[in-house]
């Protein structure tokens, strides 16, 4: 818990920095219209105008650079995995429609330029969202009825991370099986100190003697966040996806933490929430506060991870965007120097966020399984 104020202030600082940067670029590129269009992304009228504008730009042979759009496109999810230039890796689209499942490749949209007629409906890619098209117009009610279970860029990147983790840790486990009682070697000696660190510096001090039961979850969440953070820092395929900076992923992780904490809560934990040691007439205030506390702790985890990683990506992309905003090569060294600095900082943040998420999870578990007060 001692670390908390530091990280809270850090998150605030990062959010301030990236808000200022966004504001700065908005002014410089006269991008008010784009910010508005992002705010009202669902408005088809604005979108039409925007598309027309983009089309107009393309006709002139030189697209106007819009850093907010570029950055937001990167931060958000996508149905294609951009590789280089105009080459993208098409990803499978899976749609749950009231009529049944639709399954096709996102390559059929040709970067959103073409509509695609599937088994049940015709679909169009609008702002990288799959929408149902009826008679040439986007049908919002029909679009609301379909649920998108596509393997998007973030899902694919997450699968890559999962495969990498399985390869690393199963091979390390094999090394332990082969070299029983011997000193670690190779990859094993790289991983072992980290596992020991999670056990001795995160799990044991916070959970106590019941730590062993929670080690698999803590280790998995630690390495999952860390490896995804690191893959997110790699600018080229198969990295570059903003996986841990996506609220859906942090939501799932914090939800699992919420479940683990509360399903393992003992009677002291529940007594502390439902029958706190205060005069009975304070119960109408205390119990709701404690119940909010159950939700707010994982909620803070969700926001912290999301905000840190997203802020990092935004800062790096903003600095790169400077080159294109000034349309000058002279700014490139400055930009690259700053990006290098930020990338090194992000390496630290990648570890730190994995650490803090795991540490706080262990702390909450420790509070839930503590034997006496």
């Amino acid at each position: 818990m001692d670390y908390n104020p530091i990280f809270v202030s850090k998150v605030k600082r990062l959010i301030t920095v990236f808000t200022l940067l966004i504001a700065f670029f908005s002014f410089n590129t006269r991008a008010f219209a784009q910010v508005d269009s992002l705010a009202a992304a669902d408005s088809t009228a604005v979108h039409g105008e925007h598309a027309a504008e983009a089309g107009h730009g393309a006709h002139k042979g030189e697209e106007k650079f819009e850093p907010t759009k570029v950055i937001m496109e990167h931060i958000a999810d996508s149905h294609m995995w951009h590789l280089w230039g105009h080459t993208s890796l098409p990803l499978p689209v899976i749609l749950y429609t009231p009529q049944g499942l639709e399954f096709f490749s996102s390559g059929n949209f040709h970067h959103g330029e073409h509509d695609f007629t599937g088994k049940y409906n015709t679909y169009r890619l609008v702002h990288d969202k799959v929408k149902v098209v009826n008679g040439g117009q986007v049908d919002e009610t029909a679009s609301g009825a379909i649920i998108d279970f596509s393997i998007t860029k973030n899902v694919a990147a997450m699968f890559v991370a999962v495969v990498i983790m399985l390869l690393i840790f199963i091979s390390v486990a094999g090394a332990y099986r082969k070299r029983v009682g011997k000193s670690p070697k190779g990859l094993q000696s790289l991983i072992e100190p980290i596992i020991i660190f999670v056990r001795d510096d995160i799990a044991r001090p916070n959970i106590g003697h019941k730590y062993a039961k929670f080690m698999p979850y803590l280790l998995t969440v630690f390495f999952f966040i860390w490896i995804n953070n690191l893959l997110g820092l790699i600018p080229i395929f198969p990295g570059g996806a903003n996986v841990t900076g996506n609220i859906a992923l942090t939501f799932v992780l914090s939800l699992i933490t919420l479940l683990v904490v509360n399903l393992n809560g003992n009677k002291y934990y529940w007594k502390h929430i439902l029958l706190p040691d205060v005069p009975w007439w304070l119960y109408p205030i205390m119990i709701p506060v404690e119940l909010i506390g159950i939700i707010s702790k994982p909620f803070a985890l969700m926001i912290r991870l999301f905000a840190n990683i997203t802020a990092g990506h935004i800062i790096v992309l903003s600095l790169i965007s400077l080159i294109f905003i000034f349309e000058s090569l002279a700014i490139a060294p400055v930009s690259v120097a700053f990006v290098l600095f930020m990338d090194v900082l992000e390496l630290l943040v990648a570890f730190l966020q994995a650490f803090i998420f795991t540490l706080l999870t262990a702390l909450f578990i420790g509070m839930a399984v503590e034997e006496h007060h």
Binding site: D77, D148, F169, Y176, G181, M215, V252
Partner: protein, 164 residues
Amino acid sequence: MELVTPSIGLVFWTVVAFVCLLILLRKFAWKPIMSAIHDREQSIDEALNKAELAKQEMARLTAQNEDLMKEARAERDRILKEAKELKDGIVGEARKQAQTEGAKLIEKARIEIENQKKAALAEVKGQVSALSLEIAERVLRSQLEDKSKQEALVANLLKDVELN
């Protein structure tokens, strides 16, 4: 707002991926790794404890050896001292005995000498008395050859007797 709205598809796939990862890693990675680390730590602890015990045992044995050495040295010193005392005693005894023996011999010799001397003196006395008797006989014979002298002598002797 879109940035902070979790999309259902991604939530679904994250749950699937993460739960699968958790189950697979727990079964195939974390359990063997954690138990291997635990076992190894225990064996290291055990080995260290054993080494500590061995060290203590060594220290104990060394101390014991030291004690034994000390004891042995003391024993040796004691034995040497005893031997010296014994030797001194024996030598003293022998000397005393020799002295008494010598004294006895000297005494015997002295007595013998005394005896011899007495015997010699006695013999000398006998010879002297025999010799003086012979001289006296010869003197008397020569003096009492004529009658007058014999009578003068008798008269003389008688005179002495009267006096008594």
